[in-house]
């Protein structure tokens, strides 16, 4: 048993890299740099971004803010009409999103998400917008609705046995 099929064909084989392999290596590196440039361009010049906006808030503090927000702008049992220019608040808990929000088409809003129990993930049906709602951390999501209608909000982060029943609503008016 001199050699095995796993041995290199010649001694010192592991120290050689033929020219064509070097070219492959450079092509792949060049392609990576191109993609990185593209992603940087989208961050700097694109309009589909959400710079990180956050503050720390205990579940009690955040619930307090949501209660004040609902008090001020409430128009239905669990519905709030958000005046243009105002920030909105969305409270995630097992298993609902509160309150339902009425927004105006073409206006820009920041919606603050947080949770009082476990991590949730409000997703807007059909619009495919997905940010996390994490207990102890509030996160601001800036959006400009460009379609009118009623949109289901459901939860994208597994949050226990009621996960599929966790829903809310966003209504966009003309």
């Amino acid at each position: 048993m001199a050699g095995t099929v796993f041995d290199p064909p010649v001694a010192g084989w592991e120290r050689q890299m033929p020219v064509d392999k070097r070219i492959f290596l450079w092509v792949l590196l060049g392609q990576a740099i191109f993609l990185i440039g593209l992603s940087a361009t989208m961050l700097l010049a694109g309009n589909h971004n959400n710079p990180v906006k956050q503050f720390h808030a205990t579940p009690e503090e955040f619930s307090q803010r949501v209660a004040e927000f609902v008090d001020k702008y409430q128009v239905g049992p669990r519905t709030v009409r958000v005046p243009p220019g105002e920030d909105a608040y969305l409270l995630a808990r097992m298993w609902s999103f509160y309150p339902d929000l009425i927004l105006k088409k073409g206006q820009t809003y920041t919606v603050w998400y947080s949770s009082v129990d476990v991590t949730h993930n409000p997703q807007i049906a059909g619009q495919r917008l997905s940010f996390q709602a994490v207990p102890g951390h509030a996160q601001g999501v800036t959006l400009t609705p460009n379609t009118t209608g009623t949109f289901l909000v459901y939860c994208g982060e597994y949050c226990g046995v009621g996960h599929q029943a966790m829903m809310g609503k966003i209504i966009v008016e003309e």
């Binding site: 001694a11 890299m17 990576a32 990185i36």
Partner: protein
């Protein structure tokens, strides 16, 4: 002295003590894969709205089983066999301590039992990601720790054995390529286990309600993924080792340039760790600049070594076939071995891994992540990389590895169907997942009809019905594989006697390794 096996096909030798350990780990791995697939069947049939088999609590338990068996257990237990093989047979030496190997197995097995037992009890339906403050049975977290200690013990054995081989001089120069790859996988795993300590030590105390009243969800998620995503590169590195191994077992291919391949392995060490940040692109954490560098920039560079291997492995097959007289630009593709199950699986593994890698890289960019996060894009990515890539790669390797261990493959005819069914099945499954992702279907969701919703639910049902069909096909393919592998092994070592006969030890001083760097190989001097 225990018996030595010599495989006449490869010229490699293996001692009985190591072989017994390898076989035990292999059987355990295949059982885990079988369990994962049975759970997958329930999962797929529930996600198809036309059937929606399971109710919520059962669904989330089945999905926890699927994720844990398929991701936490199956690949790492399989990799244990690669580590054991790479530090003994390929280095022409025995295990420094089989007892340490059994200790590793015992710990890993105990951990697995605790994890699966707590999930089965219904008190740990928290998915394999177990994001706190979701709370599972404390033994669930403890089981993970014991399992990790088991793996770490095995890695210590692997490291000690390399030192032993070096001291004995049974290999000279660099490590053989496959051992080099598994050493990279071992280093990545040790780094991952550091993350695991940071994640699990506070969490297990919190779960037992001692000392720690609260674990911050983002702290847990960050430490969890610093472990979890790094472990995916253990899987990928091992998958690449399985690719090279399959090409060598099947067509006796040699890498086109070992230096190129070694560079690619080594690059994983540099680029792996920071990319766990891509799990936080839409979380309230670090600034956009930090996320961009960690997730996007490093993430894109991480594609380079994978692309290098993805080119090098088919190239090694091409070169070998051309050396045997295959002609034309594409002749080697025609002669690839489309009726040879492991070569079919190897081809699907490389292709599907490419698809999954593309999905992952795309999702590391902010703009795509904010629309694909937590929808079916993520399972599509996982089933491209870990299922289509690593699992098919390991399956391909198994078809070469079992005969190498002395087991004849039973039911070769079924292996044919199995390879094509699994490869095409995963292709369809991943296609269905992409379709669902395009419509925004959420992952980990028992009911996408959203019963009781008072807002319109998108019409996204057909994508998931297709997923149900693809799921049945794929699961059948993998189950056939598990049955073939287990029956081949339980039928016993039919090639055994012939293989034991000749050698007295793994290495005789007169047989200097052919890869003695710089020294003329013995075959060249005779």
């Amino acid at each position: 002295m225990e018996a030595i096996y010599t495989d006449p096909e490869t010229g490699l030798r293996l001692d009985r003590a190591t072989r017994r350990l390898i076989v035990t780990f292999l059987v355990t791995a295949f059982l885990a894969l079988g369990g994962a697939v049975i759970a997958a069947l329930l999962v797929a049939l529930t996600r198809a709205p036309a059937i929606q088999l399971l109710w919520p609590s059962a669904y989330y338990m089945a999905l926890t089983f699927h994720g844990i068996l398929a991701l936490t257990i199956w690949p790492h237990v399989f990799e244990a066999t690669l580590w054991l093989w790479a530090c003994t047979s390929l280095l022409r030496t025995r295990l420094i301590s089989p007892a340490l190997g059994w200790l590793a197995y015992g710990l890993a097995f105990l951990g697995i039992l605790m994890i699966l037992g707590t999930v089965a009890s219904g008190n740990a339906s928290v998915m394999y990601t177990m994001y706190v403050p979701l709370r599972a049975d404390p033994l669930f977290y403890l089981g993970h720790i014991i399992y990790a200690v088991g793996l770490l013990t095995l890695l210590i054995l692997f490291g000690l054995n390399i030192l032993k081989a070096r001291a004995e001089g049974t290999y000279l120069g660099s490590l053989p390529l496959l051992t080099y790859g598994m050493a990279v996988a071992a280093i990545l795993t040790v780094v991952a286990i550091i993350g695991a300590v940071a994640a699990f030590v506070p969490t297990v105390l919190w779960a037992f309600r001692i000392l720690i009243p609260k674990v911050d969800p983002l702290y847990f998620k960050a430490t969890f993924w610093s472990m979890g995503h790094t472990l995916q590169y253990t899987n990928i590195t091992a998958m690449v080792v399985a690719w090279y191994g399959t090409a060598t077992f099947m067509v006796k291919a040699k890498p086109v340039s070992e230096k190129f391949s070694r560079w690619a392995f080594a690059l994983y060490l540099v680029t792996t760790l920071p990319v766990f940040m891509h799990h936080f692109l839409v979380d309230p954490t670090w600034s956009l600049a930090v996320k961009w560098i960690g997730a996007t920039v490093v993430g894109i560079f991480l594609g380079v070594p994978s692309a290098m291997h993805g080119l090098a492995v088919p190239a090694s097959v091409e070169k070998t076939l051309r050396g045997r007289g295959v002609r034309g630009l594409w002749g080697w593709l025609r002669e690839w071995g489309w009726n040879n199950p492991p070569m079919v699986l190897l081809a699907f593994s490389v292709l599907l891994f490419g698809v999954g890698g593309f999905d992952g890289t795309a999702a590391t960019t902010m703009q795509i992540n904010m629309i694909e996060h937590n929808n079916m894009w993520i399972p599509a990515h996982i089933h491209g990389t870990l299922a289509g890539g690593a699992t098919l790669g390991f399956m391909a390797f198994t078809y070469g590895f079992l005969p190498h261990l002395g087991f004849e493959i039973k039911g070769k005819r079924f292996a044919q169907y199995q390879a094509w069914l699994t490869g095409l099945g995963f292709t369809l499954l991943i296609a269905a997942m992409h379709w669902g992702a395009h419509l925004g279907v959420p992952r980990r969701m028992q009911d996408i009809r959203f019963l009781g919703a008072d807002a319109p639910v998108p019409n996204w049902f057909n994508s998931m019905n297709l997923l149900g069909i693809a799921g049945v096909l794929t699961a059948t393919g993998i189950l056939i594989f598990v049955v073939i592998a287990l029956t081949s092994m339980f039928a016993g070592s039919t090639r055994g006697p012939e293989m034991v006969a000749e050698a007295k030890d793994l290495w005789l001083p007169s047989e200097r390794p052919a890869f003695a760097g710089g020294n003329p190989a013995p075959s060249a001097t005779v």
